[in-house]
Every structure is written in structure tokens, then in C-alpha cells.
Point group: C3
Chain length 149, copies 3
């Protein structure tokens, strides 16, 4: 079995941003030499995510606005505050991004696709997105391809 | 390694509907010849999902009602509208299902199970569901089984 | 290909609790003999989950509080009740944990990591958590490692 692990650097430019990484995954598949198998990716970060949805700009904005509504950067009024938003000894700074970790959990941190005849199998509208919840930052995505030659 | 990819057609009959696909995955495992490995499935669509939960009708209704509450078809009052709900050039029609894409992201789009001794391994109450958020429609589910003979 | 499936018992002590299982997954990788491949885990239960986030106690509390806010044990006021919260013939008792099944769906039920040179690959802050939504209970986690020697 071929097993190929690739680390891809992604540079986010905004606080909240969806970055289409479908081509990165397709390139990893092409370079792996795998004919039939599995390709999957995950974020290396806990205030970022990976998800699959339709690749259109208006929907990208809805996804970000919606996750911010469900897991806001400021604790929801009339509810608890965030415990994470306090001084963190090990970090030497204030915690501030509890809502971004929560978005990462809700939206998910990985995606998977079958590989068939050397090609990524996906629905005609499906795109793989890296989702930045706490940018701008330089980020790493792990892409792994496993399968038969 | 055996790698088998199956495309299963699922016909939803309602706008929101949970369809138990556990047997489809178990059949794919039986037909694959895999003794020890991995079986996983994903939706080919961005306004549908896949998830694992207990297989009882009352809970199916709660899951659908709950996801509609968190990601409603109509934009939540007193908040932003949906950007996706506008005229889409490439589609030649109005976008209308932003909330359904959002449900798909929240509920997830795939499920995975180990295969052991030729059988799907799952908790006694776990069922795999295809979840329709924008039906009725004819839908495709990818099921892949990878492993040793 | 090596395929190793391990069942790990986890004992939760509270109703809602996050239990770091990263070491269990790392041990399964070490004992599998896999050098390059995939390690993944899933809960065997429908009122518990698995997720990846930063491993700090304040954030654990935020995750639990937040999922309880999004999918509360008591049906949200001014909205529908839970259909699952009724007498269940097959169980001989009242359904009571609809909100906990919903938390499981929102937070997710599995996690995946690459294995490289015999080590689990993860971001420097990423930890794998078993999440109890309906404890205290004795629980099972499936951990599978697949790959080349």
C-alpha cells in the first residue's frame, strides 16, 4: 500500500476566512501514485477547521456568519462568559479565542474523499475548505493519501 | 489491500428526512471481501449529510427539528439575511437553501466504522443515517471499504 | 497492511465531561507496529462523542457549556419539546436524553490522525477527547490503526 503524507501551508488574510483547498488535495492524489484508495485532510490547528460544502462566494460568507452566530467571539449575552478568556500561565497572555475553538468543533476539522482511477471522487458541487476562525495566520494542513498503485 | 467503492442511490420523499443506510454499508462490507479494515460513507451533495445516532423515529424527528432550529431555512430574525439567497448566475435561479448547506456542515457529511472479521463494528444503538435537508430528491451516497482479505 | 482494532474502556464520572484520550490512541499506534498509515477512533455510544481541540481545562468547560447551550437537556423554551422525551416501549423507560444525542451529532463522534514513522501526527495543541454527554457511565471507544510496517 502507498501511504503519502503532505503538509500544505495556507496563509489566511482575514480573521474569518474560507480557503478552497480542493486543488491541494487533488495534487496530493496525483503525486501519490495511488490509483484506488482514500484521500483525507485535517487542520493542524484548534482555532481552524476543514469542511466540505458548495464552492460559491455567497455561501462562504453565510457559513462564516452562521458559525459566528452559533459560537460568537464575544460570549453570548445573558449566558455564561467563556472560561478560556482569562490569563493563561502557559501562554503568558490572555485567552481570547474560545469562540473560535467552538466554531472549529461545530464545523469540523477534517474531510475525506475516495480515490478511484487516480482521481478524487466528489460530488459535482463539493469543495474542500480550510476555514480560518482566528486569522490572519500561517497555517498547516495535513493531507494523506492511502491506497493501491 | 482490497479497495471497493460503491455508489448507492437514495430517494428522499420529504424536505427534511433521515434515512437509515446502515444496511447499505453492511452490504458493501459483505460484498467487498474485506475481513479487517475500514468502511466509510459520504454524501455526494452539499445540502445533505451523513451522521451516526440512535435509530428511533422520535429521535429522527428531534434531530431534524433541532438542525432546523440551529440553521433555519429562513434567516433568523433580528440577524443577517443569507447572502446565498439571491439570484445565482451559474444556476439561472434564486439561491434558496443556505440554511440547508449550513445544516449539512453542522450535522456532518460522512461516517466511518471499523470492519472486523468481515463485519461492521458499531455500538449496539448506532445507526448510519443519510440526512436530507433539501428534498425530495434522488441522491447519491459513496460507500468505500478498504482492508485485508 | 496491518489492521489493528482496540477497544478502550473509559469511565466518566460526571454528567458532562471531557476525557483526554490522546495517550490511548498513541499507545494503540505504538502497539500496532504500523510505521506509516492512519489512526482513528470513534465512540460506540450515541450520547457521547469524540472531538479534537486544545487540551486545557478552561476550554473543556467552555466546550461542554456551549454544547449544552446549543442542544440543551431541557427543550428550549418557546420552541418544540423533544419527541424522544416520552415512554419508550423497547427501553421500558422514559426517553430523557434527546439533547445529549444532539450534542453528540454537533460535536462529532470520531477523530483521525496520520501516522508517520510510527508516531501520531497532530498539531502541537491538538488533543483527542472522548466527550461524555450523559454520564457517569462506563463507555467504549474503538481505536483502529491501519498502515504499513
Amino acid at each position: 500500500m502507498i501511504v503519502k503524507l503532505t503538509r500544505v501551508e495556507v496563509q489566511s488574510r482575514q480573521d474569518l476566512e474560507m480557503i478552497d483547498i480542493t486543488e491541494h488535495i487533488e495534487r496530493a492524489v496525483a503525486e501519490s501514485g495511488v490509483r484506488d484508495g482514500l484521500a483525507w485532510a485535517m487542520t493542524a490547528h484548534t482555532s481552524a477547521g476543514l469542511l466540505v460544502t458548495e464552492g460559491i462566494e455567497c455561501l462562504e460568507r453565510d457559513v462564516l456568519a452562521h458559525l459566528e452566530r452559533l459560537a460568537p467571539k464575544q460570549p453570548p449575552e445573558g449566558s455564561y462568559g467563556y472560561w478560556h478568556n482569562r490569563y493563561l500561565d502557559f501562554d503568558g497572555r490572555l485567552g481570547f479565542n474560545a469562540g473560535d475553538h467552538l466554531k472549529s468543533i461545530l464545523g469540523g476539522v477534517n474531510c475525506l474523499f475516495p480515490v478511484e482511477n487516480g482521481k478524487l471522487v466528489r460530488g459535482s458541487r463539493q469543495k474542500a475548505y480550510f476555514v480560518e476562525y482566528d486569522g490572519p495566520l500561517a497555517r498547516t494542513v495535513f493531507i494523506q493519501v492511502l491506497g493501491n498503485e
